[in-house]
């Protein structure tokens, strides 16, 4: 029962939850949220893979990759949210 196993399974679970959310959710914001969960799940898997049982230091490369992933994800999220906002405004115009 090492942390990597625990958190690896956790990561996969989070990814799966996110995936379910992404394909099932109808609310636009929740779909973004779900995708973000997927991203965190993928991050878990990479970090777990980088983990070495102490005292060995972990592999830094996956860490760098996850950081990149986080930044990429926030960018994508921002664009998606901007789309949601704009679309909402336009649909509101329609209603008015």
């Amino acid at each position: 029962m090492t942390p990597d196993l625990i958190y690896g399974v956790t990561g996969i679970a989070v990814f799966a939850i996110g995936l379910v959310g992404a394909i099932v959710a109808q609310n636009r914001l929740r779909r973004v949220l779900a995708l973000k969960l997927c991203s965190v799940g993928a991050g878990f898997v990479l970090i777990v893979a980088a983990w070495r049982s102490p005292p060995d230091a972990p592999d830094p490369v996956p860490h760098a990759l996850v950081i990149t992933g986080i930044v990429v994800m926030v960018s994508a999220t921002a664009v998606a949210l901007a789309l949601i906002r704009r679309l909402h405004s336009l649909e509101a115009e329609d209603d008015a």
């Binding site: 942390p3 958190y7 799966a16 969960l37 965190v40 930044v71 926030v74 921002a78 901007a82 209603d95």
Partner: protein, 323 residues
Amino acid sequence: MIDTMVIFDLLLAVAVVALAVASMTTRDMFAAIVLFVVFGLLSALAWVRLSAPDVALAEAAIGTGVTGALLLRTLHHVQTVERKAAPEPLPVPMGVQIANAAFCGLLTLGLAAAFAGAPRGGPGFDLLVADAMSISGVDHPVTAVLLNFRAYDTLMEVVVLLAAVIAVWQIERGLSDAPAPALGEVWQGFARLTLPAIVVVGTYLLWVGSSAPGGAFQGGAVLAAVGLLLLLSRLYVPRPSHRGAARVAFVLGTGAFAAVALLVTGGGRMPFEYPLEHAKTLILLIEGLVTISIAVTLAALFHGREPVALPERAAGTGGRDDA
């Protein structure tokens, strides 16, 4: 000792999963976002447990902090801009739901099995990185990877950020300044007080990045928080005349990064191959500029629309200037 840590790990894992489920199932969107923020912080905690403090910092600051702020801002927009009740989404037939559930279950099982069957702690880049650290120009391995070994990825990551801000400006182009969330009076005072402290923290994070956990992204995120606060507290109101400067700020990090990458080829080197003696300087320079860009960009992403001169007739009604 081990046992308690395992219990802690287990509890944390259960909490993370539970929060993830909760954020997906809670009906109230606001609650879902809050749950998500908590989930993000706990995930960051878990990553600390996995000896990944840099990632944890980045996740807490960007993945959770900035993302949460973006989500809340959007939720605010969606909830304040009046529109008729959205059409009820049509129900999906039971068969499709069952199929979804079955497939996802199967998929999860498969992923878990594959994960369980895979070697862990196996040979990665550890040895390669260790060998190359001495000539990387920095002391902290993650920073070395980010800004030297895989600098190309990082450059492209910043490009993604740039693409995002361009896309966001493009998407929300011409939108009038719809009511944005603002902080109350008390909080504005609080903001004034905290701002200098945050700037210091951010700069520090950037600086330590070369030798200890921290770096451009984390620092940028923290500095972006400054921007958020400025925007929220209306201490800074974007104006059309600031656009040029903003554009420059957006591309500053990317441009510098790319330019350095190319310019080093002047010495008969490969792109990104910093001369050993100047490596640390160059990396710090790049980091600094990238940090600025990241901070400004994240703040701009939060703000969303490009600051434009409002046509008088359309003021406050959500009209478009380019229609």
